[in-house]
C-alpha cells in the first residue's frame, strides 16, 4: 500500500544519487472512476525502468514515453488522459475516468 509508494520514491532518490536521469510523474487530479488517487507516483529513469503506477496500467506506457522526454528536456509537463480525447482512444482509461498527470525531472 503506502509503504510501496515510499519504496518508489526511495528508488527515485537512489537513481538520482548515481546521476541517472529521473522523472517523477504524479497524478494531480482525477475525474470519474480513475483507478489511482491524486498523489500516486510513478518514477522513471533514463533507461526506461519505471516503478509505481498512475492508472493501474492503462496509460503507463504513454507516461513513461513522456517522462523520457522530460528527462532529456528538463521542462515539466502536464498530461491529461481520458476517454474523451484522441490519445485516450489509443492508450485510454477503460474505466471511463480522466486523470491529469504532472511529470517533472528530479534535478
Amino acid at each position: 500500500m503506502l509503504d510501496r509508494d515510499e519504496d518508489i520514491l526511495k528508488a527515485a532518490e537512489s537513481w538520482a544519487e548515481v546521476d541517472k536521469g529521473v522523472a517523477l510523474a504524479t497524478v494531480i487530479e482525477t475525474w470519474g472512476s480513475a483507478p489511482r488517487p491524486a498523489g500516486s507516483n510513478l518514477v522513471v529513469n533514463e533507461d526506461g525502468t519505471f516503478l509505481g503506477s498512475v492508472s493501474g496500467g492503462c496509460v503507463e506506457g504513454a507516461v513513461v514515453t513522456e517522462a523520457l522526454d522530460v528527462i532529456s528536456s528538463g521542462a515539466p509537463r502536464m498530461l491529461e488522459f481520458g476517454v474523451a480525447d484522441e490519445t485516450a482512444w489509443t492508450v485510454g482509461l477503460s474505466c471511463g475516468g480522466r486523470i491529469r498527470v504532472f511529470v517533472e525531472k528530479v534535478v
Binding site: M1, L2, D3, D5, E6, L9, K10, A12, E13, A16, E17, L24, T26, I28, E29, P37, A38, G39, P76, M78, F102, E104, K105, V106, V107
Partner: protein, 230 residues
C-alpha cells in the same frame, strides 16, 4: 523536483512524520512543508485539512493552481487481545489500510490459525509494546477484558501520542478501570482520552458489528476536525 526535496520526503516518511509537497502547477515551483511547520504556514488551513483527510488535491490560491501532495504515514492499529472481536477487527482494519498488530500473552489465543496474515506477538504488553514504537499515527485498542493484560497496555499507550485509545467494557467496568488507573498515578485528562465503552453507538452485538463500531470511531477520530470529535 529538487533531489534535496525528494530526499527530505523519504527521510520524513521513514521517520513516520507527515509531509506535504506544494507544487505551483503553472511554473513548477515547489516547496516542502513538514508537519511541524504547518501551523505557521500561510496555507495552514488548507494544509491541515488535506493532512487530516490524507488527501492530495489541487487548490486555487490567488489565481494560481497549487497541488498539495500529502505524504502521511500508514496508520497502525495495535490490538491488545487475540479474542473473538479481534478476529473480526484485524481483517476489517487491514481492509481500511491499517498496519495491524495483535498482542496477547496467551499463546492459545494468539495463534496463526486464528489470525492468518496478521502480525501476532504472544508476549505481555511490557515486552511486546516498546519495540512497536507507538506514535501519533497509531490507534490502540484493549479488548481482552482482563485487567492484568489491558491495564499495563493502556498505561503504555497513555504515555504515547496515539490518536485513538479504546478499551472494551461497560461503563461500570470502565469505572473500575479508571479507579485502578488513578491508583497508578494516571491523570484525569489521560483517563478522558480512553474511549470506553469502545466504538460508536450503533447497537453492535456480534463481534463483527463491534469491529465495525470500533473502526467507525477510529475513522472519525482520524478524519473529523478535532472540535467535533469530543
Amino acid at each position: 523536483m529538487k533531489l534535496a526535496t525528494l530526499s527530505a520526503i523519504n527521510t520524513e516518511r521513514a521517520a513516520r512524520r507527515p509531509v506535504i509537497v506544494v507544487t505551483d502547477i503553472g511554473n513548477g515551483e515547489q516547496r516542502l512543508v513538514r508537519a511541524a511547520d504547518i501551523a505557521r504556514d500561510p496555507l495552514h488551513i488548507e494544509l491541515e485539512r488535506h493532512l487530516r483527510m490524507g488527501k492530495s488535491s489541487v487548490i486555487e490560491v490567488e489565481g494560481r493552481e497549487l497541488f498539495l501532495n500529502v505524504y502521511a504515514p500508514t496508520a497502525k492499529l495495535v490490538i491488545i487481545g487475540a479474542v473473538h472481536i479481534s478476529q473480526a477487527l484485524a481483517p476489517l482494519a487491514r481492509s481500511l489500510g491499517y498496519d495491524v498488530t495483535v498482542v496477547d500473552p496467551r499463546s492459545a489465543f494468539a495463534s496463526p490459525e486464528r489470525f492468518p496474515d496478521v502480525r501476532l506477538i504472544a508476549e505481555w504488553p511490557d515486552v511486546a509494546l516498546p519495540p512497536l514504537n507507538i506514535d501519533h499515527y497509531t490507534a490502540f485498542v484493549a479488548v481482552t477484558h482482563d485487567p492484568k493484560i489491558d491495564d499495563p497496555a493502556l498505561l503504555h499507550a497513555l504515555e504515547r501520542d496515539c490518536f485513538y485509545i479504546g478499551a472494551l467494557g461497560s461503563r461500570n467496568t470502565h469505572g473500575q478501570r479508571a479507579v485502578r488507573l488513578r491508583a497508578e498515578g494516571v491523570s484525569e485528562a489521560s483517563i478522558e482520552r480512553i474511549h470506553a465503552p469502545i466504538g460508536l453507538e450503533i447497537g453492535a452485538i456480534s463481534p463483527s458489528e463491534i469491529a465495525v463500531a470500533i473502526m467507525a470511531e477510529i475513522t472519525a477520530q482520524l478524519r473529523l476536525p478535532k472540535a467535533s470529535t469530543a
